[in-house]
Symmetry: C2
Subunit: 167 residues, 2 copies
DNA sequence: TGAGTATCGTCAAGTATCTTGACTATATGG
DNA sequence: CCATATAGTCAAGATACTTGACGATACTCA
């Protein structure tokens, strides 16, 4: 019994990528469970990520595309789903016949509110688990990493990023 | 121009879950790109995660299932793919007619070696980007989080985790 | 010994997320 | 007015999972 447990622990991967993936999945599972408990079963991980980018007062779909790291088609599909759930609605942009404005419905704003609450709860739980100091260090490192990566990507783009269509 | 950039930055979500997800995706993209460059195009993220759990000298599929956070069916599908690629092979377990042993092929071991190299390279890059101290703090926090979460799950299971099938 | 039960792996079907390619409609700038 | 770029959509497919059902083997204990 004990021997098996030992084996299990001893062999877990321990590189950054694995740890990040693990932590990310755990967070998402916790968030999804809490949101389901709050009656928002439609709140999947990708949708949550996208909603985090939509300004409370709405925005153009194209602006959303710029902000998110995924393709316009993927965003469209997510929005389709969210629209079907009644979380957001899409209106034609009066300024540009091609564009559309995405904005929250009443239901969407309520869900957003619950989402924020749940996020704060989870954060509190995390701080309780690993201590405020460690948590702060975690956020600090993650922010630094994101900033550094964004900078690295900008450099690539600025230098000569378009070697893709060779061959 | 500048104004648009400001907008873009100002609106990024900043909670733990989002940061973890971002960081995880960025790591995976970096890893996949490097592995592709090394001629291992089949090395997808889920496969990499699974391979991280397979002992160098092979192991039972059921042991793999215990270690991984995903379902046995998902693991089977991943193994199917890896087997088709010639990375691992599955042999009947002489000790147990139901079981199978999973082990690396020669090609798999080579890929694993490249994978380890790439992981170390990325880690070095990360340390270069955010500093050794921050990186250490990051790993420390992630490990603590994983340990605390595992403990929390064990508690749940020990107490009364089976309220699922009510209603 | 043999019936019930648990474990191991598989098959099948479905969902979520994301990708690429092709296309329409509108805007913009000579 | 025409060429080109941009905004959004449609369709098809890949990947990474999920749940449910199932067959085969092993274990237990009366």
């Amino acid at each position: 019994m004990v021997k098996e447990l030992d084996k299990k622990i001893e062999a877990l991967p321990d590189h950054v990528g694995w740890r990040l993936w693990q932590a990310s999945r755990a967070w998402q599972a916790e968030f999804a469970a809490a949101m389901r408990a709050a009656g928002h079963g439609w709140f999947t991980e990708a949708r949550a990520g996208l909603l985090g980018h939509i300004a409370r007062n709405g925005m153009r779909q194209s602006a959303l595309i710029e902000r998110s790291a995924i393709s316009k088609q993927a965003i469209q599909q997510l929005l389709d789903g969210l629209e079907a759930e009644g979380i957001v609605e899409r209106l034609p942009d009066p300024q540009d016949g091609r564009g559309k404005l995405v904005r929250y419905t009443r239901k969407g704003l309520d869900a957003l509110h619950d989402g924020d609450r749940v996020k704060m709860e989870i954060e509190r739980r995390y701080i309780g688990r690993i201590g405020k100091e460690r948590f702060t260090a975690l956020m600090d490192a993650l922010r630094a990493l994101a900033a550094a990566q964004a900078a690295a990507m900008d450099e690539d783009a600025g230098a000569e990023g378009e070697v893709v269509e060779s061959k």
